[in-house]
């Protein structure tokens, strides 16, 4: 009975997330981008001036809402805890690499679903890439991949992540002259601040309670044939598709899709990076924001890594645009895949070694009892 209730709640959370994604587009966000963690963190990086791509600069209130909504939910239900210390710096880089893959495809897994729900068939090419990346990640999980244990940390560690987003909230409301807001391009298209913030808060609370994760959904199917988390993602997708059909935002095809390109191989490989990196980091971009709100300082590091990855991609002209993926971006894809494989191999090897020797950094040994 308990299980039924949990699943129902997860499906409701998915439906609301899907609905909100459609509404945000009607309210002014770019098409098929009602919600996109990668795009919005990239806009945040631009808003802070960490990159100077003039078309993608805005401190997106949705992102702030997600983290603070999660914080509120976790705090109210006594799940907020200041934890961390599980390969923090490595997670920072995993976040950066994950973002680099997302900006080759032009979207996080959530937006991949939204693009699909809007009839963008390029996302249908990226989707198997995402599954492929997750599958590669699960191979390492099965071999014993681990980033080690997190521990209770002094309170400011857990608070630092959410606090950063409070600062962003102050900045977007006060809009001082030194921050950057696009006047043209995707980041100039935005829903009203209050609407964005409130929907972000709502989805933040729901995603925290329901443990919504676009990577876990497929990882658990591959690893355990467990379809539990998948129900939430399926609900999100179906709701968004229905919403797009009703509001006339469904356009089937490859060419001329909003904020997208048609280069199949890069869509596949870019999203593959996101899937692989998400498995290694233990959560998709959305889940990282939610964990940040729960006081997980490792996830906060991953989130900051994502912001840095976005800045890197735009500062050096590596990110894709509607025109496609630049040559340097294509080389980047190969390098990122190589780096992820190196991280996965070496972390797996050292985790396995540590389990054997019962090493105390957390790779805990199994102890037989009586």
């Amino acid at each position: 009975m308990e299980k039924m209730k949990e699943r129902t709640f997860l499906i409701i959370a998915g439906i609301i997330a899907g609905l909100v994604s459609v509404l945000l587009v009607l309210q002014g966000n770019p098409a098929n981008m009602g919600f996109c963690i990668a795009c919005f963190l990239r806009d945040v990086a631009g808003g802070l001036g960490l990159h100077r791509a003039a078309v993608v600069q805005y401190i997106r209130p949705e992102i702030i809402g997600l983290v603070l909504g999660s914080f509120a939910g976790a705090f109210y239900f006594r799940e907020y805890r200041s934890t961390g210390g599980s390969s923090t710096v490595l997670r920072f880089f995993l976040g950066a690499l994950m973002m680099m893959g997302a900006l080759i495809f032009l979207g996080c897994p959530w937006r991949m679903l939204l693009r699909l729900a809007g009839g963008d068939l390029n996302a249908l090419v990226a989707f198997p890439g995402y599954i492929f990346g997750i599958w590669v990640g699960t191979l390492f999980l099965k071999k014993g991949y681990s980033l080690g244990v997190a521990v209770q940390q002094p309170a400011p560690n857990g608070a630092a992540g959410p606090f950063f987003f409070v600062v962003l909230l102050v900045l977007v409301i006060a809009a001082p002259a030194f921050i950057f807001f696009s006047t043209e391009g995707p980041a100039s298209m935005r829903a009203p601040l209050a609407f964005s913030l409130i929907t972000g808060l709502l989805v933040g609370v729901l995603a925290q309670r329901a443990r919504l994760c676009t990577m876990g959904a497929f990882r658990d199917i591959i690893l355990f044939k467990d379809f539990y988390l998948f129900a939430g993602i399926a609900a999100l997708f179906l709701m968004a598709t229905a919403g797009n059909l009703v509001t006339g935002n469904f356009n089937l095809g490859f060419a001329g899709q909003p904020v997208a390109h048609t280069q199949a191989i890069w869509n596949f490989l870019g999203m593959g990076i996101v899937g692989f990196a998400a498995v290694l980091a233990g959560g998709c971009p959305l889940r990282q924001l939610i964990l940040t709100g729960e006081g997980n300082s490792d996830a906060a590091a991953t989130t900051l890594g994502m912001i840095m990855g976005a800045a890197f991609m735009h500062n050096f002209g590596l990110a894709a645009s509607g025109q496609g993926v630049p040559a340097a971006g294509q080389v980047t894809v190969a390098i990122v895949w190589a780096l992820l494989l190196i991280i996965a191999f070496t972390a797996t090897r050292s985790a396995v070694k540590n389990v054997r020797s019962g090493f105390k950094t957390g790779h805990k040994k199994e102890t037989p009892m009586a």
């Binding site: 799940e79 999980l141 244990v149 355990f224 102890t367 009586a370």
Partner: protein, 73 residues
């Protein structure tokens, strides 16, 4: 009766589930105790055990600030 204790405190998902499943499926133990310290891991390990047809008992251990799950075949 063979029994096994796995300490998964501090590990993030899906590692606790992977380890618990491995213990249930491969160790031959009739009882597996799993220590976890997050509600997410508690729920995920419980769900995995139930799906394998094992019974789950959850208790909160105050002094360790963790959940002790007893999985019985």
């Amino acid at each position: 009766m063979k029994s096994l204790l796995i300490d998964c405190c501090g590990l993030s998902c899906p590692e606790p589930v992977l380890r618990a499943r491995k213990a249930m499926l491969e160790s031959g133990a009739k009882e597996v105790k799993v220590k976890v310290n997050t509600t997410v891991a508690r729920d995920n390990v419980s769900r995995a055990a139930v799906s394998l047809g094992w019974k789950v008992n959850v208790e909160f251990v105050e002094e360790d600030d963790c959940y002790l799950l007893t999985l019985v075949k």
